[in-house]
């Protein structure tokens, strides 16, 4: 787009009708740029982050695989193939089989179901509790905020392994109790983020305008405060997912999480310890699954952080 300048002769020779004053104000208020929304911009920025996109693709593929493959596969997580026990990777068993001849690949897929479910459910619960608790605490402020934050301080000072083991003992070692254990305090991070965002936003002029319009606390939170705090909330939630997945793997590895014959990545790795030197593939594949998932979620989280809050980008 270059600037249009005429040379002297051409300028002098311009016809008379180029010099008639005629005001056309119909375009004075036009906005030349195409309409974009905040989320559209975020997506544009996210898309440019190659690692984050790869992470997203990996997670989507893994999610689809762990849903579909167990439905179509001839194997089940507890069905044994006694002809092939402790077999290495082959066409029949892509990740080999374990001591009982169970197909390792399908067990990893079931593990992925558990891991991803725990990750997403824990994140969703954390998100809900954290947003509500932090939002109310931040908006109401004053004494209410004081009390709510002291409760949070007390909760977060409890030693986590202690109450996790207790929960497992009381509710049994199943997915529900793992999720309960993981959600018991991990919403606190989200709540703190939401609280500080809301405290900052509640003095903004559009919130005052909302109050003048007759909005109650609930409306202000839902309509004005939380949507504008969404960036940091999403980032903190995105980093919660890999944390929850890893914690589950860790608990199952210690033997207090998901129990055999159900498979989780942690319990698969645990089961592989005694035979690790003879059948390293039993350890290798679950660990790869954990690593790939961790990396993918963290890349997505980084990408989201940069996309949602460009100022934080280094």
């Amino acid at each position: 787009m270059s600037v249009q300048i005429l040379d002297n002769n051409a300028y002098a020779a311009l016809p008379e009708d180029m010099f008639v004053i005629g005001i056309d104000e119909s375009h004075a208020e036009d906005i030349p740029r195409p309409s974009t929304t905040y989320w559209h911009d975020v997506w544009q920025r996210f898309r440019r982050d190659r690692l984050a996109v790869i992470g997203l693709v990996v997670i989507v593929i893994m999610t689809l695989m762990c849903i579909i493959i167990p439905m179509v596969s001839p194997y089940t997580y507890d069905g044994s193939d006694y002809m092939n026990m402790n077999a290495g990777p082959s066409l029949q068993h892509p990740c080999g089989t374990d001591q009982l001849g169970r197909d390792q690949f399908i067990r990893i897929m079931y593990g992925a179901r558990i891991s991803l479910t725990i990750g997403f459910v824990a994140a969703a619960i954390n998100f809900l509790i954290g947003v509500l608790y932090g939002g109310l605490s931040g908006y109401l402020g004053g004494r209410v905020d004081m009390v709510m934050m002291r409760i949070v301080d007390i909760l977060s000072s409890l030693p986590s392994l202690l109450y996790i083991v207790l929960i497992m003992l009381i509710f049994g070692s199943n997915m529900g109790s793992v999720i309960l254990a993981l959600c018991f305090t991990s919403w606190i991070g989200t709540a703190r983020v939401v609280r500080s965002e809301v405290m900052h936003l509640k003095h903004s002029e559009y919130v005052l305008a909302g109050r003048l319009a007759g909005a109650n606390t609930w409306h202000l939170l839902i309509q004005h405060l939380i949507p504008n705090a969404m960036g940091p909330i999403i980032v903190s939630t995105a980093f919660l997912i890999p944390g929850a997945i890893f914690s589950e793997a860790f608990l199952s590895f210690l033997g207090i999480g998901i129990q055999a014959p159900r498979a989780s990545w942690g319990s698969l790795a645990n089961a592989a310890i005694p035979v690790m030197q003879m059948y390293p593939h039993l350890m290798l594949f679950p660990v790869i699954a954990i690593c790939v998932t961790m990396f993918s979620f963290n890349f997505i989280g980084d990408g989201l952080r940069d996309a949602l809050d460009p100022r934080l980008k280094k």
């Binding site: 787009m1 249009q4 300048i5 180029m18 005629g22 030349p32 544009q44 920025r45």
Partner: protein, 330 residues
């Protein structure tokens, strides 16, 4: 002799959605000892012009020019390091918000003596002496105590005075003040303007004053550039601009502020519409979409500059012999 001469400066910024053409082919000069005012609204390119000249633009900016000479020296190709040398010693900068341009982690003394030590090779004691003298020069009461303070302990007016003291520390040849009073209250603004006027009288430095406030310009500057849409639409000495402006945008600027004697009930004459989006600047005159005297030629071609006197130049198609004669309405 001209202290600063800029020829055909272009500056653009690459942002996600495209390229913002902030400054589009402007040329101007600053004479020795003169005070030049650059007026324009936000987005007119007035600040970017000065940042381009002094090489203080962020990494996503692209600058091109035919030449930029300062004190007889070509400075357009200078490295960052050479530019930095020029800054503290020969060009002093005063910014709108002293809180962001002073370092919050250092005391006033640190920040004031640093340029003296670097550029004037002073030792600690004499730099301190000089710093005290500078603080007195900018009318800061109790300068000994102020030296030990941090920027956040000072009020807005005092911070701006410290900023000015730093800018004049090494007796620069050129002082660039970018909206130096915009963030201040009226009575504090009056103090700072008084101080700047005193500096102008007492030193031989040239001053470039960038502002949107015609009032500040009227009392401070001898010559004025009016910028719009990244171009200079009119320039002239202060009387030519205030009493003999020829560009409809300058008229608009002058008409849209209430006069001192203006009574209630007299309507202000606003400029319609909104400033151009420099992502997609108009092909012709940038002011054409908002101009009351817009002609077909204005939308098609950029107007050439017409010289009306030694100093008075205007870029408007109304100066064309075939154009109708219009005058400013009050």
């Amino acid at each position: 002799m001209n202290l600063l001469e800029v020829k055909n400066l272009n500056t653009s910024f690459h942002i996600g959605v495209g390229t913002v053409q902030a400054v589009r082919g402007i040329s101007f000069h600053v004479a020795q000892g003169e005070s030049l005012g650059i007026v324009g609204e936000s987005g007119s390119g007035k600040s970017v012009t000065m940042l381009s000249v002094t090489g203080l633009l962020p990494y996503n900016a692209e600058i091109s020019s035919d030449s930029i000479t300062f004190d007889g020296r070509e400075i357009s190709g200078l490295s960052k390091k050479e530019m930095r040398k020029l800054h503290g010693s020969e060009i002093g900068m005063i910014f709108q918000d002293p809180m962001t341009s002073l370092n919050p982690l250092f005391t006033v003394e640190n920040q004031l003596t640093e340029p003296l030590k670097i550029h004037r090779h002073m030792d600690k004691a004499s730099a301190r002496e000089k710093a005290l003298a500078l603080l007195r020069q900018v009318d800061i009461p109790n300068p000994e105590a102020r030296l030990k303070q941090y920027p956040h302990e000072l009020s807005g007016g005092l911070r701006q005075r410290v900023m000015i003291a730093i800018a004049i520390a090494c007796a620069p040849k050129l002082i660039i003040a970018d909206e130096p009073t915009t963030a201040l209250d009226v009575t504090i603004q009056a103090q700072i303007l008084e101080l700047l006027q005193g500096l102008k009288r007492d030193s031989r430095a040239s001053i470039i004053m960038i502002t949107h406030d015609m009032g500040v310009i009227a009392s401070m500057c001898s010559r004025i550039l009016v910028m719009y849409g990244g171009t200079i639409c009119e320039q002239g000495d202060v009387r030519e601009i205030f009493y003999g402006a020829r560009h409809p945008y300058t008229w608009g600027l002058l008409n849209s502020i209430p006069k001192v004697h203006q009574k209630r009930g007299e309507k202000l004459v606003p400029i319609h519409g909104t400033p151009p989006d420099m992502l997609q600047p108009p092909a012709g005159c940038p002011f054409a979409p908002r101009c009351r005297y817009c002609m077909p030629v204005c939308r098609a071609y950029m107007p050439p500059e017409t010289a009306l006197s030694e100093t008075h130049r205007v870029a408007c198609h109304l100066m064309h012999p075939k154009a109708p004669k219009v005058t400013r309405e009050d």
